[in-house]
Structures are given as structure tokens and as C-alpha cells.
């Protein structure tokens, strides 16, 4: 019995991988430039920020929660970092402050969810509005640009032929795959997501784990904000707005269940790639960008619908 469940879970992981392969196949038929190395690297680079954001979110979703504030945190960190850089603060210090700010906001989310038992979507949605409000106050409607070159290197630089954001996203992905699959902390996240009462009785400090994972989600959001600012060579309040729902979409397409306890970081890598390719192709085919929110909303609802109905049948 438990074997068949495991097999089904694995099949589901393979399902999104097949999805990716199918999309790659169709895309290479539609455009012969698609499978060129340069284009593949472009797609990897385009997906890197979405991936970093979605990886932290994946951990939260594994616990059965959600973090709707990640893109707002990314923008806030981006704006903070840009302001500090303009003041001439040394880059390592600025990066450290940016990551700390992101993690701190995440920990605050974790306190609301873990200690106060607020529903995660209320806590993080409220946090999103508050953080956006503070970004507005900090920027006063302005755009900051012209950042130091040694900072923008994080966004536009290369190591060999690999863009730095891709390397950062790859390292983040490896970190999360190991964290979820090879550590006790990761195993506890899965238990928390599948059965919180069981987690309590097996002496897992639920609130502490929640605070940690929301903190980590804030941290990756901060990292994404840094990379995004470096790549744009600019910062403004709405800089990461488009990522808001895309992160949730990437996670659920990757096979992580919104009900918690199922999925993982590798799936999210595939999810982010699928989403980026789809958006990329829509751009290549000249489909109006206004349709994108419709497609993403539709994809999220359908994917979760399939997930929930297959779970019921078990």
C-alpha cells in the first residue's frame, strides 16, 4: 500500500519532467533557434530569479503553508540595497544587509503563522501589503539606477560561459534539494505538512520549524531581490510585481502539493523552467503580454485541481 503511494508520488514527479520535455520538443519544432546553446542559456538566465524565489516558497508549501509576500520582499530588499549602494556603502556589507532584511521579514511571517496561528495566506498577504507600503515610503516614487559595476556583476556577469544568476540559482537549488531530502529538518517539514498533529506528538517543535522555514523563504526572496536589482541595474517599487503569482505557479507545476507534505525542490526547478519557456514562447509568438496573467491564473487553478482530485482518488 505505502509502496504504491510512493510509486504514484514518483510518477507525479516524472509527470512534470515529461511536461518539460514535451514543451522543449514542441518549442524546438516551432523555432529552430530554440535548442541552440545560446538560447538555452538565455532561458536559464531568465528563469534564475523566478527559481530562487520559488525554491524558498517550496519549503513553506511543503509544510502546508503559503508565502504570498516573497515578491514584495524581493522588491523591498532591492530598493534598500540600491539606496545603500548610492550612499557608497561597501558591497559585501550591502549584500549582507539585504539578505538579513529579507530573512528578518520572513522570520516575522513565521512568528505570525507559527506563534499566533494566523492562517498563512492572511499573514503573508498582509505582510505583502505592508512591505509594499514601506517600499513606497523609501522610494518616494523614484527609480534608482546607475549602480556600481562590481555589484551589477551579480546580475549580468559571467563565469566562463555561465551567467552568474544561473550559477547562483543552481547552487540554491542544490542547497534546497539536500536540505529537503537529506536532513532531519527537511524530513520534519514533510511530516509537518502531512500531519501537524502527528508532528506535535513526535516531539517536533512545530512553531520553531515554521519560523525557520518562513525565515529561509524570506532569505531567498532577499537573494532574488539582490540578483534582480543587479540585473536591471536599477530598483523601483514594482520591480518584481510580475513574479507574484508566477512563484506559486512554478511550485505547483513542479508537483509540490499545496496541501503540504508532498513534492520537493527538483520539481520546482522543472516548474520554473516550464513557466519560463511558456512565457518565452508566448513572447516569441507575439502574444500580447496582457494575456499572461490569464494563462498563469488558469494554470494554477488547473494544476491544483488535478493535484487535489488525484489525491481524493487514493
Amino acid at each position: 500500500m505505502s509502496n504504491s503511494i510512493e510509486i504514484k508520488a514518483r510518477l507525479k514527479g516524472l509527470f512534470s519532467l515529461f511536461g518539460l520535455l514535451a514543451i522543449v520538443l514542441v518549442s524546438s519544432l516551432v523555432s529552430d533557434r530554440f535548442l541552440k546553446v545560446s538560447n538555452i542559456i538565455t532561458i536559464l538566465r531568465q528563469s534564475s530569479i523566478l527559481l530562487i524565489l520559488s525554491l524558498g516558497l517550496t519549503g513553506v508549501v511543503l509544510t502546508g503553508g503559503i508565502d504570498l509576500s516573497v515578491s514584495a520582499i524581493a522588491a523591498f530588499v532591492g530598493c534598500t540595497v540600491a539606496q545603500l549602494l548610492i550612499l557608497g556603502m561597501p558591497i559585501p556589507l550591502v549584500v549582507l544587509i539585504g539578505l538579513t532584511v529579507g530573512a528578518a521579514i520572513g522570520v516575522f511571517n513565521g512568528l505570525l503563522v507559527g506563534k499566533l496561528k494566523m492562517p498563512p495566506f492572511v499573514a503573508t498577504y498582509g505582510m505583502m501589503m505592508v512591505v509594499n507600503g514601506f517600499s513606497l515610503i523609501m522610494m518616494q516614487g523614484s527609480i534608482i539606477y546607475g549602480l556600481p559595476e562590481s555589484f551589477t556583476w551579480f546580475g549580468v556577469g559571467y563565469m566562463g560561459f555561465m551567467p552568474i544568476p544561473v550559477i547562483l540559482a543552481f547552487l540554491t537549488a542544490v542547497f534546497f534539494i539536500v536540505l529537503f531530502k537529506k536532513t532531519t529538518f527537511g524530513a520534519e517539514l514533510y511530516i509537518l505538512g502531512s500531519n501537524e498533529t502527528a508532528a506535535k506528538y513526535s516531539a517536533i517543535p512545530v512553531d520553531k520549524r515554521l519560523i525557520t522555514i518562513y525565515g529561509i523563504s524570506g532569505l531567498t526572496a532577499g537573494l532574488a531581490g539582490l540578483v534582480l536589482t543587479a540585473r536591471l541595474d536599477a530598483a523601483e517599487v514594482a520591480m518584481s510585481e510580475a513574479f507574484g503569482l508566477q512563484t506559486v505557479a512554478a511550485v505547483v507545476i513542479g508537483g509540490t502539493s499545496l496541501l503540504g507534505g508532498e513534492g520537493g525542490a527538483f520539481g520546482t526547478v522543472i516548474g520554473a523552467l516550464i513557466l519560463t519557456i511558456v512565457v518565452n514562447i508566448m513572447n516569441l509568438m507575439g502574444i500580447s503580454s496582457f494575456i499572461q496573467p490569464i494563462v498563469i491564473g488558469f494554470v494554477i487553478i488547473t494544476t491544483v485541481f488535478i493535484d487535489v482530485t488525484t489525491k481524493k482518488n487514493r
Binding site: 503559503i66 504570498l68 505570525l112 499566533l116 496561528k117 494566523m118 492562517p119 495566506f121 492572511v122 498577504y125 498582509g126 505582510m127 501589503m129 505592508v130 509594499n132 507600503g133 514601506f134 513606497l136 515610503i137 518616494q140 516614487g141 503569482l245 506559486v248 499545496l258 496541501l259 500580447s288 496582457f290 494575456i291 499572461q292 496573467p293 490569464i294 494563462v295 498563469i296 491564473g297 488558469f298 494554477i300 487553478i301 491544483v304 485541481f305 487535489v308 482530485t309 481524493k312
Partner: protein, 318 residues
């Protein structure tokens, strides 16, 4: 005896927050405390209260609707577009409200039949509806001019502003629906004990679809008021309203658990939000600072409310 203490305990903290807010603002800026300004506040209350009534009914049934912003934007765009197509005013209003209610119904169907968490369905629906509004307008605003707009927002009947009359009627209907009909009892039942509801042979999905259609309708009406105010349809004008509506509901003492609360408390929640916003304006705080300040205060109010009710429920357990 026991009943009385429970009632006292349930008094929402929003009352003293409102009192403190009014006193502080009046001390800083005495011009706040004027009849003209109170009339202003009452008019501003109308659209937010209508949407918050919808939000309250959804939350009472232990669900959530995050699609208000998108539905409001879509309603403004649809209405103006219908009018531009030459459809008569009355019919255009009817069609717009029908569309808004249908969007709600679709959410309700997916939530109840599919068993999908409502926040994800309505979040997706928010994206879809605002996307449709963007596609219709190609990203800009659509305009139409008609004297109805001005009358709808600024008109008075026997010294009563029309938006205020409208919101009073809607509140009355909603109150009757909630407290005097089977539908209302089912809403409270959904929030209280869903299994008992099924055992009683009640079709849960019908009530859920009903609640979401109603909240969609409320979003549509709010869209009409906003479109009349800006005399145009705009694909992003509704952004953020869902947060205000949910905030007003939670601050007003309605909670996600056990069907606690009601639309009466929501009036106070809406008043608090509008008083804060109006107060910051009167004091002269630049708009740039307001969303951050109000957002923080709202989150703080929700945290206090959750903290207080957690504390109470822990005491009950002991």
C-alpha cells in the same frame, strides 16, 4: 449569567481602537471633528462597506475571497465598454453585475466541487479577471460620459447621499439573508461544523457557490461606484481592495474559526479604516506614506485581535 460573560468577551477590540483613533486625530488636527468631514467619511464608507459585507459572508463560511480587486477592475471596464457599445444604461448595469456574480459562482463551483483551498482559486481568479480587463482595454483606461455617474456618487435624496442609501439597503438585505433565512444559517453552519451540516443533509456546495456569487455581486456593485467616481473603466483600479475588505472584516471581529462574528462588526472595521485614511489626509500626511502606515496599523490590529482571541480560547481550555 454564563451567556452574558461570553457576550462581553466577544466585544471586538475595534471599538476602543476606533475611539482612540478619533481622539488622537482630533487632538492633532481639530478640523477632523467637523460635521462636513463626518459626511465625507460616511460617503467614503459606502464602497468599502459593500465589498466588506461580501468578504464577511465569505469569511463567516470559513472561506476567503482574494479576487475582489480583479473583479472590481473587470466590472469598471465591462460597464464602460458595454456603454461604449451603445447598450442602454440599465441593461449595462445589469450585465456587469451578472458578470461579476458569475465570476463568483465559478470560483464557488471550483472550490466546492473540486475541494481546492479557496485562497488559491480566488487568487488565480484575481489574476484571470484583471488579465481579461487588461486584454479588453489593451492596458489603458476606457472612458464614457453620462450624467448618471455624477448623480450616482454625489446625488442626494432628502439630504441623504445616494451611496449611503445604497449601502444601507444592501446592508439590510444582507442582514436579512444572514440572520433570517436558511441560506444565512447554512453560512454560519459552514463556518461552525461542516460535518454536522452534511449529516443534516444539507448540500454544502450549494451554499458555498451561493456565498461566492453574492460576494462577486458585491464586488460588481463596488466596481460601479468606483467607475462612476473616476468616470472611466481601469484594469488596475481595484488593486488592493481585497486587502482592505478582508482587513475590515477581521478587525470587525469576524474570525476564520467557528463562524464567529457578523456584518455588524464589519461596519466598525470599515469605519476604522476610513477614519484612519481620512485622518492621515486631514493631518497632512503625504499619500506616499499612507499605504505603509495604514497597512502596518491594519496588520497590528489583526495581530492584536488574533492574540486576544487565542488568549481567550486558551483560558477556556484550562
Amino acid at each position: 449569567m454564563k451567556k452574558k460573560t461570553i457576550k462581553f468577551n466577544n466585544m471586538p477590540p475595534v471599538l476602543w481602537m476606533l475611539a482612540v483613533g478619533i481622539i488622537v486625530i482630533t487632538v492633532i488636527a481639530p478640523s477632523f471633528f467637523a460635521i462636513n468631514n463626518f459626511k465625507n467619511i460616511l460617503i467614503q464608507v459606502a464602497p468599502l462597506l459593500i465589498i466588506s459585507i461580501g468578504s464577511t459572508m465569505v469569511i463567516l463560511s470559513e472561506e476567503i475571497d482574494l479576487s475582489f480587486g480583479g473583479v472590481i477592475s473587470l466590472s469598471t471596464v465591462l460597464w464602460i465598454t458595454f456603454l461604449n457599445l451603445g447598450i442602454p444604461m440599465f441593461l449595462a448595469i445589469l450585465l456587469t453585475l451578472l458578470a461579476a456574480a458569475v465570476v463568483g459562482a465559478i470560483s464557488g463551483i471550483i472550490i466546492s466541487k473540486g475541494g481546492i483551498p479557496s485562497f488559491i482559486v480566488t487568487l488565480g481568479m484575481a489574476s484571470i479577471t484583471s488579465g481579461i480587463a487588461l486584454v479588453i482595454t489593451q492596458g489603458s483606461s476606457v472612458y464614457f460620459s453620462h450624467k448618471f455617474f455624477y448623480i450616482f456618487v454625489n446625488g442626494e435624496i432628502l439630504f441623504f447621499p445616494i451611496p449611503l442609501i445604497l449601502v444601507s439597503i444592501i446592508f439590510g438585505i444582507s442582514w436579512l439573508l444572514l440572520y433570517r433565512t436558511r441560506f444565512g444559517a447554512q453560512i454560519f453552519g459552514l463556518g461552525g461544523n461542516r460535518d454536522a451540516l452534511s449529516l443534516g443533509g444539507i448540500d454544502k456546495s450549494k451554499s458555498i457557490i451561493g456565498v461566492f456569487s453574492y460576494s462577486g455581486l458585491m464586488a460588481g456593485i463596488t466596481g460601479l461606484i468606483i467607475a462612476s467616481k473616476i468616470e472611466s473603466g481601469n484594469p488596475t483600479t481595484g488593486a488592493g481592495w481585497e486587502f482592505d475588505a478582508i482587513a475590515a472584516t477581521l478587525i470587525g471581529g469576524t474570525s476564520f474559526t467557528e463562524g464567529q462574528g457578523g456584518i455588524g462588526g464589519t461596519i466598525l472595521g470599515v469605519l476604522l479604516l476610513i477614519v484612519l485614511r481620512n485622518g492621515l489626509n486631514v493631518i497632512g500626511v503625504p499619500p506616499m506614506y499612507q499605504s505603509g502606515l495604514i497597512g502596518s496599523m491594519v496588520l497590528l490590529a489583526i495581530i492584536i485581535d488574533v492574540y486576544v482571541s487565542n488568549y481567550k480560547s486558551e483560558r477556556v481550555k484550562v
